[in-house]
Symmetry: C2
């Protein structure tokens, strides 16, 4: 049965690339990396009930499993090229795999990402994707280059995915209100949870411009904290500058800021750059159709602070999403 | 807690390589592949109770998770370079991770394999390893090059891992006999199950020599079947030429041939080459300390046949290990 699944996956691996010398079907894939570029490689495993809610559609799982990995490449400024897929399934469920591949392929095709290998096995539902991409060595975006005085930016809007998860949580006391309040807002937030958009083009635009970059997977405070620790700096965030979607404000006006600071799974890029680059950066990203907000500044002193417009400190805990605390 | 685990893993990632531009700790690793080589990439996920028995020591799990992946590189003739590790654990068990890394590192170090990234998450115990290696493009070993008339070879001995699993199976009626019969033989077989030796040096020696190659993970018949299907040929095996260990013969005299034909998890290389190369190949591999047996020949007609010394057909079923039938 494993081999039928692999045959099915091979038949659906629609992206062809000249740098794939040998794809699915041998002991390993054979690939030809381009000269003069660094190879960026990341892996993320998604488990049912941890990284996506029980009941998520196979197509959404396929999309998200690839999206979170492409987001890692985006955060390095890398151009995606190849993926390997390790699929653990409770049974050889052809319909699940076809749905999964629908979602996976819908995201792989526009990025010209070739599925070149992987394995399938029987067990509790889990998806592990390894992605590869290229970036000119000197232009790769890292976490450790933020400098005091840099401005802090974030793409898109924050907190939507966490709000989407809250919408799905039927045990919330106000679930009925949410269901009847605004179908469109609810759909928008759940869509952000299930079908995040990796900021691949934005990451490439930031090559050699951003001083540090990370994708917001664990929550803004947690991920910006990683940047600050790696760079040996601190950050002051402007609470009123956090980009919030109208869907989030419609359904969670009171919690919106908290979702934006702490919610995981948004897969936006948080990056730093010298403030004199801000105007150009915002214009360039906007031209891509990618919203971007300037949300704070890097400071020399350790720690994260969040201030309101009057400069008053907003109490926050530094915690974000942590799969071992969930 | 995830970050403590990652810090622990980073501290234990002992192999340093100049072609690792950025290792564990950013959104992706940054690597520098060598010019003029194909990049070989494989991933394998191991689950408790499927790929290793419940109760396997953390160090053995760490060794085996890497070994099965290095074996895929060996089967391509590739030289290992980098690995990513995706670890799913029921809890943040520091002792498990330290034991796991002991086994992983014991195998990574002699191969100068650098651990460059990965992730950790909470869930049913699972280990997914992605490995990378290099091989000169034209010399990579594939499954699809076997030709009628080629001799078939296998390294080491076959059936030991399956016999080791049988030794561990306490529900076997004759478990007591095994336990008292021969402690050394039992240990040897279980050792082959838990600590397989990937034939990395042998694979490199076969570059540009073997016409096809595969590692024996699903069982000789199943894996040779893959080679035959990919190459559009068939095979005739000499049942009496199958290399059997004294431990296997001591404990499973009656089942030894069956274990050798069908048992999975041996991670020996099965390869084909023109018969006139046989003497040199056997001498070269022996010089490496790698035993090799000539076990049959490739024929033009489809299908696998197994014959005894008198030329009589030995009945076999073509099935090997299949994780969706287990």
């Amino acid at each position: 049965m494993e081999f039928d699944l692999i045959e099915l996956i091979r038949a659906r691996a629609s992206v062809r690339r000249e740098d794939v010398l040998l794809g699915i079907g041998d002991d390993a894939a054979l690939l030809r990396p381009p000269a003069g570029h660094a190879l960026a490689v990341a892996v993320d495993t998604l488990l049912e009930g941890v990284h996506f809610p029980v009941g998520t559609s196979p197509a959404d799982i396929g999309w998200k499993a690839l999206a979170v990995n492409l987001s890692d490449l985006a955060a390095m400024g890398a151009t995606p090229s190849w993926a390997l897929l390790s699929l653990t399934l409770p049974g050889a469920d052809r319909r699940f795999v076809e749905g999964f591949l629908d979602g996976f392929t819908a995201l792989a095709e526009p990025h010209r990402l070739a599925l070149v290998g992987g394995d399938t096995t029987r067990g509790p539902l889990a998806v592990s994707v390894t992605v590869h991409g290229f970036v000119p060595e000197a232009q790769a975006l890292r976490r450790d280059g933020a400098k005091a005085g840099d401005a802090i930016f974030v793409t898109g809007t924050l907190g939507d995915a966490a709000a989407g998860l809250a919408c799905l949580d039927r045990e919330r006391a106000d679930a009925d209100r949410l269901l009847t309040a605004s179908v469109d807002s609810r759909k928008a937030l759940i869509g952000r949870l299930n079908r995040p958009t990796p900021r691949v083009a934005a990451g490439q635009l930031l090559r050699g411009v951003a001083s540090a970059c990370i994708d917001v997977s664990d929550g803004l405070l947690a991920d910006l904290g990683h940047v600050c620790r790696a760079s040996g700096v601190g950050a002051v965030l402007d609470a009123d500058a956090l980009p919030l979607s109208s869907a989030l404000l419609t359904l969670f006006a009171d919690d919106a800021r908290d979702f934006a600071l702490r919610g995981g799974d948004d897969y936006e890029l948080c990056f730093t750059a010298p403030p004199e680059r801000a105007a150009d950066l915002i214009a360039d990203l906007s031209r891509q159709g990618c919203g971007v907000a300037r949300i704070g500044r890097i400071v020399a002193e350790d720690g994260l602070a969040v201030r309101d417009a009057a400069g008053r400190s907003v109490a926050v805990s530094a915690s974000g999403w942590d799969h071992f605390r969930s």
